[in-house]
Amino acid sequence: MGGSLDTTDESRSTAGATTRSDHPVVVCLEDVTKIFEDAPAVDDLNLEIYDGEFFSLLGPSGCGKTTTLRMIGGFEEPTSGRILLGGREVTYLAPYHRDVNTVFQSYALFPHLNVFDNVAFGLRRKKLTKVEVARRVGSILEIVDLPHYEKRKASQLSGGQQQRVALARALVNEPTLLLLDEPMSALDAKLRRQMQIELKRIQSQVGITFLYVTHDQEEAMTMSDRLAVMRSGKIEGIGSPRDVYDSPSTEFVATFLGASNLLAGTLEAASGALSSVTLTDGTSLSVPHERVPALAGSTTLKVGVRPEKISIGVAGTSVPAGHNALRGRVRVSTFTGVGNQYLVDSVSGTELTVYAQNIGQELAPRSGDEVVLTWPIEHTFAVVPMTGSNDEESTNDEE
């Protein structure tokens, strides 16, 4: 967050401790398409996941996350494209020949077997000795914190315990890749938070690559080394959570991952590192050049800024250097404890949301007050206005 405007590189380097692009590629999807009854569920998808990372697929319901996972697991065959696991093509390989294990959304524990036999199922298929099976089952149950539950039936476990057994059953095989399809969706909020921490701990302990599917953006951001935001079978944004959050590549990503204020404008000529965008009312905003997407012919775009990046001041406050500014009038001011949330009608006609932290310094503007909104230029981004159907939008309101 320093003075440098070269934010893309900056955020890369802060996330560098967790991205592993120098590691070998574990899974590679090349132009993968899956068509169900002539509608594509996954549309020309390209994806690489690196060894040891915690990667999340995030997106609204029906965007093709499960389908992607099932194709990697071998339960679904792509209509076209290739899937490589550890460099080997597995596109049409049966699931029982793949070095991949899955934690199913419904857990899919075998109801007629006890915990031990559930966990040992995969090891026994590999013809390990009895002693070795017992040793490995014991140690994985230790890791998932269920040491004395071997004799229990799956139905005699709580939801969280069942989830741990499902995790243990997959992990005990030491796969090169673990697929998890919304494993938390059956848990209540509190247990969910607890299991998120647990899952992260287990992942770093066993060092296995995780491909995690969720439609909870907060969950994806807190847990992942990298994530991809999917929409209608396509990846719209990919990178570390910070990258994707701070420089969303499309309007959809900007609104799906957190909240964004988006202002329609036209791109003017660039000057040096900054591009200038003129809003409908004539206000000019600066956007770091590398955050302006390639516009195919047209010059209309949307300028975005996250609500927490904006400072709110009474009208007439001087604008610091290197900041964008926009005048407006407070419509609603809400005290939320940790801060204030404002809805501001800007002069450009767009309503902006502003979060101000409660640090007890200034007098909060009240509704009706004329204000000026300022934010650092490096926190400004631009996206191509969303075209096509807006039907998915209704399903991905902020949680």
């Binding site: 029982y96 899955t102 590999k126």
Partner: protein, 286 residues
């Protein structure tokens, strides 16, 4: 606290009054009705069991329904009627063989019907219709047509034709029973098994079959019971050696030997034993 209790009891006792009246009614009507049904169903069987202990007077050894005194003679001499004993063993063998075949085929058919949609399983709808017809069609029609078939194609009537006929009429019952069990089956369990490295055969053996076993057993029991007591079809397709029900029917014209009641009692007891066993097993499970 006490105030709370009082209001609680007051609140619950008020709406209870009509319910209690209904319950009083239920206390008499329902049990009476149940006992009547039980009596209706069990009376003929009880009569058979009682008369299996009846002494026979006169030279001919055949059952009569006048009580001549208690004896266990027929139990001691259970195998003294040669045709009867061999027909009984034939029926047992027939039931075992046809149940085995019908259970295997019926189970596989049920799996196919549940697993594949009609775009992949051509003729699925036709199979379903035929199964229904098979259950609904009068046995006399099937028996007569089978006889016609065997005669036309010059197939000697005997054990083979009996097995063919019995498999034919029990397969639909097995399929229907197993299919009911399969329709609640979570397919992700099989996917989980594949995921853990089990091939389809291992998955069937270790996951699918154990889970649908109750349905398969129920279907097998039904097939066995259908086979053991089948008369109509068997009468058409049996050769010189008739199975038990056909033999008994033939005997009624000359007089039923008392041993028939002994065998009848035995079959009934085995049935009771199965029923009790299934109740005990299902109790244990829940």
């Amino acid at each position: 606290m006490s105030v709370q209790d009082r209001t609680d009891t007051a609140a619950t006792s008020r709406p209870e009054r009509p319910a209690r009246r209904r319950r009083k009614l239920g206390r008499f009507v329902l049990p009476t009705y149940s006992w009547l049904v039980i009596a209706y169903l069990v009376f003929p069987i009880a009569l058979m069991i009682i008369y299996s202990f009846n002494r026979v007077v006169g030279g001919l050894q055949q059952v009569s329904f006048s009580w001549n005194g208690f004896t266990t003679q027929w139990y001691r001499q259970w195998s003294n009627v040669p045709g009867l004993t061999s027909s009984f063993w034939l029926s047992i063998r027939l039931a075992l063989v046809s149940t085995l075949i019908a259970t295997v085929l019926g189970t596989l058919l049920a799996i196919a019907l549940v697993r594949y949609r009609s775009n992949k399983f051509r003729g699925k709808v036709a199979v379903e219709q035929v199964l229904f017809l098979n259950i609904a069609a009068p046995e006399i029609v099937m028996g007569a047509s089978l006889l016609g078939l065997f005669v036309t194609f010059n197939v000697a009537r005997g054990f083979l034709t009996l097995v063919l006929a019995h498999v034919m009429f029990s397969i639909a019952y097995v399929t229907v029973t197993v299919r009911a069990r399969l329709s609640g089956f979570d397919r992700s369990l099989e996917e989980a098994a594949y995921d853990l490295g089990a091939n389809p055969l291992t998955t069937f053996r270790l996951v699918t079959l154990p889970l649908i076993m109750p349905g398969v057993l129920a279907g097998a029991l039904m097939a066995f019971a259908l086979s053991i007591d089948d008369f109509v079809t068997s009468n058409f397709v049996s050769g010189t050696a008739p199975p038990f029900p056909v033999w008994v029917y033939g005997a009624t014209r000359v007089g039923i030997p008392p041993q028939v009641f002994v065998f009848g009692t035995f079959i009934f007891m085995v049935g009771i034993a199965f029923a009790v066993m299934s109740i005990v097993l299902s109790r244990k499970k829940s």
